[in-house]
């Protein structure tokens, strides 16, 4: 069973004073996420990632389309107890202490009174805030709030979690921890759906990713598949500074550095290139297939239509 199934979800906003113009925040989106997956939802800022998450959480209403979460209609109140949600740049009732906030959320999620205290303590420990449970949230730093946000999302032991930009505001150590936490969640059998514009996070973590840009799905698949399809090129390095003239015909891009030459050429021309080097008696140093990064894929998917902005790697 798919943990999440998005069926043609679409959101159009009316903008302008008379609300005559319409803005497509999300074009009809179809997507399925399997149970137990870590699914990355990628795209530059303003691509429609947050809109999608808000639609799924019932915070905004779709223009058309629907979704199923864990087999339930997504508007079904019953499904909400199985969901954890971390909004983008979360902000919480700052007059509460971290422990009070989590206890309140536990109440709302229907965690039994007997278990509440234990759960709160456990989750505070899990997100690395065991000592500040009694501190009012107004004294928390951005990174600490992000941790509280993650804590409240997993507090009630949900089957599927939705994280909107979970790494933002965290230092490198924090990112590492959150990454580990997501992997733990996966091991516990939970489904993790997270949005990010940070590609390296997605690359390291995700089973599958979807790429969205300008409200439109641009690509979806297993990371390895996506990346291998991009280039199909090999890098050939040999000693010397001489470049055989026949290589030009093989679409090789050559760079001379010191006493070696580096050439990148299409995979299918690899044998011909090696033959050419042999004929010239040049000494081959290495032959490596060029594995594209997710970033390359990203750039390729987005670039034709618009310059990529706000993508950090």
């Amino acid at each position: 069973m798919a943990a999440l199934e998005i069926i043609g979800l679409e959101k159009t906003y009316s903008v302008g004073f008379w609300r005559k113009r319409s803005k497509h925040a999300l074009r009809p989106l179809h997507l399925a996420v399997e149970e137990g997956e870590i699914f990355g939802f990628l795209g530059p800022n303003g691509a429609g990632k947050t809109t999608t998450l808000k639609l799924l959480m019932g915070l905004v209403f779709p223009t058309s389309g629907s979704a199923r979460i864990l087999g339930f209609e997504w508007t079904d109140p019953k499904v909400k107890a199985q969901i954890g949600f971390l909004p983008e740049q979360p902000y919480f009732y700052d007059y509460l202490t971290a422990r009070e906030l989590l206890a309140y959320y536990a109440q709302l999620s229907g965690v039994p009174a007997k278990e509440r205290r234990r759960r709160v303590d456990a989750v505070l420990h899990r997100v690395g805030l065991p000592d500040v449970g009694g501190v009012q949230l107004r004294k928390f730093s951005k990174g600490m709030l992000q941790r509280v946000g993650i804590a409240q999302a997993i507090l009630h032991n949900p089957r599927i979690v939705f994280f909107d930009e979970p790494m933002s505001g965290l230092d490198p150590m924090g990112r590492r921890e959150v990454r580990d936490l997501m992997e733990q969640l996966k091991h516990e059998g939970k489904t993790v759906f997270f949005s990010t514009h940070v590609l390296s996070d997605a690359e390291a973590l995700c089973d599958r990713v979807a790429i969205i840009h300008q409200g439109e799905l641009r690509g979806i698949g297993v990371v390895a598949d996506l990346t291998s399809n991009v280039h199909g090129k090999v890098e050939v390095v040999w000693q010397g500074t001489r470049v055989p003239s026949s290589l030009k015909a093989l679409e090789a891009e050559c760079h001379v550095t010191g006493d070696t030459v580096r050439a990148v050429l299409p995979e299918e021309n690899q044998d011909a290139a090696i033959d050419a080097l042999r004929r010239e008696h040049l000494r081959l140093i290495s032959l490596i297939p060029v594995r594209a990064s997710l970033e390359d894929y990203f750039v390729q998917k987005l670039a034709p239509r618009e310059k990529v902005e706000g993508v950090t790697v």
Binding site: E73, T75, D76, P77
Partner: protein, 307 residues
């Protein structure tokens, strides 16, 4: 049906029910509290204080008190009350807040001075009120007219009325009939014709619905009084001529005493009673009539005023 739809329907139904319920309750509360807001008037010792706490919005507050005065009188009058204790203070507060609200003085002259149930029976307070109005609006001849009216109608003080009309006739742009009134007072005080002129003038010089309706009713009553007197005179004349009472109105016409069968202001023919009296068909329609009523007639609980 989804949960959200259920909520929407429930909330809509509840909203409508609550709205209706609250409006119904409001009617109950209003019935209970007839005049309850007005009780406050009794606690406000001086209109001056009220003026101070109105924070410069005297005009608005005056309008509110004016509405209260009109409502109060209207409600009490409908109930055929014989006590209008709050009318004078309400009008005094209104005019203290806005001394140029001329209609309030006219209202006072029309309804503060006459004896109950047609008014509060306080001609002295009415005179005080109108005099206060004259001090604040010396150039408005209508106020002198109102003053003369009270003197004439309610105080039967014809000299006082003459003096008031005379003062008013000297105001620039005064209606010329003020001079005529002043003269009329000296010569024809107490005559129906003079009263008619005054009521006509009242009717013509105001736009207030209640005041106009009141004047119209008085004019109709005057006409009935006049015509009944005339008809009873004709009946007596017939008796002298024939030695017996006329059997019907048409007998009077046949005898050449009347030119035709007379009709009252409602359009109904006058009734000739067996004892020779004349009566109107609908006595309830003529609240101020003195004549033409059945013997022992009691006016209804709710007087009818024509608009």
């Amino acid at each position: 049906m989804t949960a959200a739809q259920r909520t929407t329907i429930t909330a809509s139904v509840l909203l409508t029910a609550c709205m209706l319920g609250s409006a119904l309750l409001l009617r109950r509360v209003d019935q209970m509290r007839t005049g309850a807001t007005l009780q406050d008037v009794l606690y406000i010792s001086s209109p001056k204080l009220l003026k101070r706490v109105s924070l410069g919005y005297e005009g608005l507050l005056a309008d509110i008190y004016w509405t209260r005065a009109v409502q109060y009188f209207g409600r009490k009058h409908m109930a055929y009350s014989d006590r209008y204790d709050l009318l004078a203070p309400l009008l005094e507060i209104t005019t203290a807040l806005d001394p140029h609200l001329i209609v309030a003085y006219q209202f006072g002259a029309s309804f503060l001075a006459p004896p109950p149930p047609d008014g509060a029976g306080m001609p002295e307070r009415a005179i005080q009120l109108v005099e206060y109005g004259i001090r604040n609006n010396p150039d408005d001849w209508k106020l002198y007219y109102d003053l003369g009216f009270i003197y004439y109608m309610d105080k039967k003080d014809y000299a006082g009325a003459a003096a008031a009309f005379d003062r008013g006739s000297k105001v620039p742009n005064a209606h010329p009939f003020m001079k005529i009134m002043a003269a009329q007072m000296a010569q024809h005080a107490g005559e129906l014709e003079t009263a008619r002129m005054l009521w006509v003038a009242t009717y013509q010089t105001t736009e207030d619905r209640q005041i106009r309706a009141n004047a119209l009713s008085h004019l109709r009553a005057l006409r009935v009084d006049e015509e009944v007197a005339m008809l009873e005179k004709a009946v007596a004349q017939y008796g002298q001529k024939t030695g017996h009472l006329p059997p019907s109105m048409s007998a009077l016409v046949v005898a050449g005493i009347l030119p035709g069968i007379p009709i009252d202001p409602d359009g109904h023919p006058y009734k000739l009673m067996p004892d020779g009296h004349i009566e109107v068909r609908q006595p309830d329609d003529f609240p101020f009539t003195q004549k033409g009523l059945p013997p022992g007639y009691k006016p209804p609980a709710t007087p009818k005023l024509r608009e």
